[in-house]
């Protein structure tokens, strides 16, 4: 059997990029707890690299709002507060709605089929109560629209906001409901009709509703 050649990523992955991805994942999933103090020497040892790529990664994570650096004093993981969802979702909703508007003129069969397929898989994940997978598939559904909108600024901003939302959801054991399946179906329907106004509105409301969903699922 021929060795499969990695065409996709012929470039060497830098230590910095590895460190960044690993640290971000650890912060999102809670391995690195909120307010935990980050010692670059420790992290360097843990990841088997020197302090430099660690420091560089931490600075990027600071820009994204996952760590807070107090120059000369300390570096720590930012807090996770439920109320953050109130700051997080309105801009995310606005950008997702805008992305949906921008997609309309670029629509094609391929995109619609991908959306329908993804929503089907999303629906199945919810039915078998695999909420972890559902969360990921929901993101993938929306990512199709973001990608199709083809706007690098929106792509970058949504990526950061989504990462924060993901972190909040992880830390609060949020699950998505069958309600989302219908929302996705509506979005697809309005996209098919090239109804820019309606798809924008549904998209925005879909995300804003999540604020209430979030609070209604308060610890019981």
């Amino acid at each position: 059997m021929p060795v499969p050649i990695n065409h996709a990523k012929p470039i060497r992955i830098s230590a910095k990029e590895n460190a960044f991805n690993q640290l971000q994942q650890w912060i999102i999933d809670g391995t690195l707890r909120p307010e935990e103090k980050l010692n670059d020497t420790e992290l360097a040892e843990a990841l088997g690299v020197s302090r430099t790529p660690i420091r560089e990664s931490l600075q990027l994570l600071e820009v994204q709002g996952f760590v807070e650096m107090f120059p000369g004093k300390a570096t720590q993981v930012t807090k996770v507060k439920k109320e953050d969802i109130i700051d997080l979702l309105p801009p995310l909703a606005a950008l997702q709605a805008l992305a949906a508007e921008l997609v309309v003129p670029n629509l094609n069969e391929h995109i619609i089929r991908n959306l329908e397929d993804m929503n089907e898989r999303f629906s199945q994940a919810i039915q078998i109560e695999n909420y972890f997978a559902a969360l990921k598939l929901d993101e993938d559904f929306h990512q199709i629209i973001i990608d199709a909108a083809n706007n690098p600024y929106i792509t970058a901003m949504v990526a950061t906001l989504q990462a924060h939302v993901r972190r909040l959801f992880y830390h609060n054991s949020i699950v998505l409901t069958t309600h989302s399946i219908e929302d996705h179906a509506k979005i697809i329907k309005h996209l098919k009709n090239h109804d820019t106004t309606l798809v924008s509105k549904i998209m925005r409301d879909n995300w804003l509703n999540a604020i209430e969903e979030f609070y209604s699922r308060e610890r019981e």
Copy 2:
């Protein structure tokens, strides 16, 4: 004479932050030209620091989209393309419109007065044809609203988008017109009336109109 104590900034400004601010300014105003190759050793000498803070600054500038890094090969200033305005303004308009919506419940006399004052100064700058100052005052006007919206995610994203817009305007000698004065007045009026829907719409249209303004001022 007693030495004036710097109460405002007791914290030491880091070499990294200095380097970052200087490099960003140079890229925006064109001192560092689009597609110029950036040699960190040169920059380090120019700013009188080592390569470390330069490298760190460049990485932050990459996240913001001002430089592009080709790992192992080179680091260069990103291009400035007129068409970028098409990608830039829709999300900026959406976020500014959202900020205006969010401000409405927080409105107070102080904010309104600041806005009126700033628009007055903006108007004067345009009258004496100091378009450089006008550009800055226009940003300040909108910044009042962003600040009052009090949403850290919006603040961060708008700062980056604004920096890109500023760069485009610099490089294309764009000037703001008396039209903007009226837009600002309308925004203030609708804010006073707590008319969330209208202020959002005006704000969005105000920014989107700038796309056409931009192209109508094509080289003559």
